[in-house]
């Protein structure tokens, strides 16, 4: 690489100090600094600024009282109370209907629908809605930053309240989240108790461990929503048990390479098909 000019070095100094230059350029800047006093001085000054910033950042600690305040304010926020009221109303309705012998599959569906409809109504007012509309229209808010990144239309999961729901048409099943239990948000190999794989057509479940377990978890955690109309037929069940007691059971279609949870179809990260084949052959 040709020696750099002072102007080129000047432009690269920040990246050099942040160690974000490719090795060849990093060395070129380093060489230049060895013989150019002006650039060396400039580098030292910038380095001092960065050092001061990092030092200042390191000194900031969040007060413990704030954590408590955040918790209290979130848990007592109106959204939760509103949900609670609706949930209680729904439960009361259910009990009333059950006691009258009116319960039926037909009745079960509108209850959840009305719950979601209320939520939409609630979240469609206030500033948030204005900001969102601005974003949808391609406007930028007053700070020059849209409130939300431009997100694609997602797939809505209708989470079931029962612990286990069988999806008859595919033969797959899942263990839904317990409503009162918050699982570990980021499962890693450290908080996993066991991963079991079984074929949908029957056969004993096989445990996955080591590198295979790692690939399975990475694949699941990095899964991305697929086309909602993606056709699939579950060929395997993947059950993940966490140490905190949470269980997830995913359907997997090895032919289409899609995983299914709550009828939502997702594309897993790389390597899942290979590992499942290895484990179940």
């Amino acid at each position: 690489m040709n020696p750099l000019t002072c102007k080129e070095v000047y432009e690269l100094l920040t990246d050099f100090l942040l160690e974000e230059l490719p090795p060849e350029k990093h060395n070129a800047v380093k060489n230049h600094l060895q013989y150019c006093e002006n650039c060396r001085k400039e580098c030292q000054q910038l380095n001092q600024v960065i050092k001061n910033l990092r030092q200042r950042a390191g000194e900031i600690e969040m007060p413990q009282s704030l954590e408590k305040q955040i918790e209290d304010s979130l848990l007592s926020s109106p959204k939760k109370s509103w949900k609670k009221i609706i949930s209680l109303a729904a439960v009361s309705l259910f009990l009333l209907a059950a006691s009258l012998g009116l319960w039926s599959e037909y009745f079960a569906v509108p209850e959840e629908k009305s719950y979601l409809a209320s939520e939409e109504a609630e979240s469609s007012d206030g500033n948030a809605a204005e900001n969102f509309s601005a974003l949808e229209n391609g406007n930028i808010d007053k700070s020059g930053m849209a409130e939300e990144p431009p997100m694609e239309q997602g797939i809505t999961i209708q989470e079931k309240k029962e612990n286990v729901v069988n999806i008859k048409e595919t033969g797959s099943s899942y263990t839904a989240l317990d409503e009162n239990h918050v699982p570990d948000a980021s499962p890693s190999l450290n908080n996993i108790q066991v991963i079991e794989i079984s074929e949908a057509e029957g056969g004993a479940a096989v445990s996955a461990g080591g590198e295979q377990a790692e690939i399975i978890i990475n694949s699941i955690n990095s899964a991305r929503p697929a086309d909602n109309k993606e056709a699939y037929r579950v060929t395997h069940h993947i059950k993940v048990k966490l140490k905190d007691g949470t269980e997830y059971s995913f359907g997997y279609d090895i032919n289409s390479n899609v995983i299914v949870l709550n009828k939502e179809v997702e594309y897993p990260g790389p390597g899942l098909a290979k590992v499942i084949k290895e484990i179940t052959r």
């Binding site: 910038l46 600024v49 950042a57 704030l66 979240s123 948030a128």
Partner: protein
């Protein structure tokens, strides 16, 4: 994918799920707010308000994988609101008031003051980069702008900070920022 499920639970009003999801960012959000606002009191308010707003609006988050950048964006916007509010109601010379007088170490006060003298755009990238160790592409996602813009803002901001600190040490007036 599990995070995505938590986002969906939070979107249905589950405050515990939202807390669990956001908890790992609380400390980072607070540091960012202190960097942006210069004092603990305003920073605490900004973080609380940002989290409440995020919880209220989480059902609108279409890509759960962008939860972190979305959360930081809400916080940055809230901080900028507070800064502008101050500018409207406070004489310019009192806009920045460090509350760390008891730790009045020159370098610490100098860097905080120099940071406060940056405009909002430049201050934001510096704080996200050096208080949060965010990469350029992550900052671009938070600010919803091209990476090139983040880089040039960062470059200019560091040079302004450098000049500002030099002026502080020479005891002169700060550079015209």
């Amino acid at each position: 994918m599990i995070d995505e499920l938590m986002v969906k639970k939070a979107a249905k009003g589950d405050a515990s799920a939202f807390l669990k999801l956001s908890k790992k960012y609380h400390s980072g959000l607070y540091k960012t707010a202190v960097g942006m606002l210069g004092n603990d009191h305003d920073a605490a308010d900004a973080v609380q308000e940002a989290l409440l707003k995020a919880f209220r609006d989480i059902s609108r988050l279409r890509k759960p994988g962008q939860f972190k950048s979305w959360l930081y964006r809400i916080l940055v916007n809230r901080c900028i609101d507070i800064i502008r509010q101050r500018q409207r109601t406070t004489p310019v010379e009192y806009v920045w008031v460090p509350d760390a007088v008891e730790n009045n170490i020159d370098a610490k006060v100098d860097i905080s003051r120099a940071l406060a003298e940056l405009d909002e755009d430049h201050r934001t990238v510096v704080v996200l980069r050096f208080y949060q160790d965010m990469k350029i592409n992550d900052i671009a996602e938070v600010l919803n702008c091209p990476e090139g813009t983040v880089k040039s803002r960062l470059y200019r901001a560091l040079n302004k900070l450098k000049l500002s600190l030099q002026d502080c040490r020479m005891g002169g007036e700060s550079a015209d920022l």
